[in-house]
């Protein structure tokens, strides 16, 4: 966390030296100061930040890939005639997540393959997820669990 703050401070300093606060300058400064901090934490033995950032990037790549696959699937369904849906609303257990984790999970579920969170139970332990292709109940739950697992291991550690 300290290293992350240091990274932001260095990026802002980079912006000051260029005299502009545009997104591109800030992004360049962020990347450069990240490389600098990586060098720094290799010299002094402060671990954790680099691997965490790498996990975040890996999750982002996975997410973009899933987003594209989902959209091409829906596009195929729309363009070809006939409707091959088997929709369901399923229960999905999310016991033991903090509110922020639940928010990120809802956003990710709403953006990935044919799924949509319809409601959350009053005790906030169950999502009710509407799925487009859910002829196999257990496989649907397994897919959602995979996404939850990835979020827990790669984003929130």
């Amino acid at each position: 966390m300290t290293l992350f703050l240091l990274n932001i401070v260095l990026a802002v300093l980079w912006c000051f030296t260029w005299g502009s606060f545009d997104f591109l300058t800030l992004a360049t400064g962020f990347v450069l100061s990240y490389l600098l901090l990586g060098l720094y934490s290799r010299v002094t033995v402060v671990e954790g930040y680099a691997t965490k950032a790498r996990d975040l990037v890996r999750f982002a790549l996975y997410f973009v890939r899933v987003l594209f696959v989902a959209n091409l699937q829906i596009a195929y369904e729309i363009i070809t005639p006939g409707l091959g849906f088997s929709p369901r609303i399923v229960r999905f257990d999310v016991t033991g997540l903090t509110p922020v984790q639940r928010l990120v999970l809802v956003n990710s579920i709403n953006l990935t393959p044919g799924t949509l969170v319809v409601d959350i139970s009053p005790d906030r332990r169950t999502f009710y997820v509407h799925c487009m292709y859910a002829s196999d109940y257990d496989k649907t739950i397994a897919d959602l669990n995979d996404l939850k697992q990835r979020l827990q291991t790669q984003v929130f550690k």
Binding site: S20, D22, F23, L24, T25, L67, F68, A70, N71, I74, A75, E77, I78, I79, L83, F85, S86, P87, R88, I89, V90, R91, V106, N107, N110, L111, G114, T115, L116, V117, V118, D119, S121, Y128, H130, M132, A134, S135, Y137
Partner: protein, 129 residues
């Protein structure tokens, strides 16, 4: 000169992808049989489509900046274009799913009829208990 050609080709590709997904999202809203399926089509395809269009805009303004035809009066700068495009994309990815979720919840509370091939509805079962 060479990278201008590359950037123009990238602009065209991003435009084609964005337009394809925008059109597909609109057709899905028209074609799909019930509210929830329409919501899925609308929220996902259209978000991706608008991201493609904004990327095309960013590429195009980088080209304008390098060919030195930028006029200071209208403020055609690649930096400003990038900043605004990134803001719109971030907002779409953060707020689009929230709006869709609220609308789906409202529709279910109002008992909108579901597609006739729907297999099961766990939420309705739990509410009836």
């Amino acid at each position: 000169m060479n990278h201008v050609v590359l950037l123009n080709i990238l602009t065209t590709l991003a435009l084609i992808v964005g337009l394809f997904f925008l059109l597909v999202g609109a057709l899905g809203v028209l074609r799909f049989p019930d509210v929830y399926l329409r919501m899925i089509a609308a929220s996902k395809c259209v978000t991706l489509g608008i991201s493609g269009m904004l990327l095309a805009g960013v590429f195009h303004f980088i080209v304008i900046g390098t060919t030195a035809e930028a006029d200071a009066v209208t403020g055609s700068s690649a930096m400003a274009a990038t900043t605004k495009a990134v803001l719109v994309i971030l907002f779409q990815f953060a707020a689009g799913p929230v709006g869709t979720h609220m609308l789906a919840r409202a529709a279910h509370i109002d008992r909108v009829r579901m597609y006739k091939k729907t297999l099961s509805d766990d939420l309705r079962e739990d509410l009836l208990e």
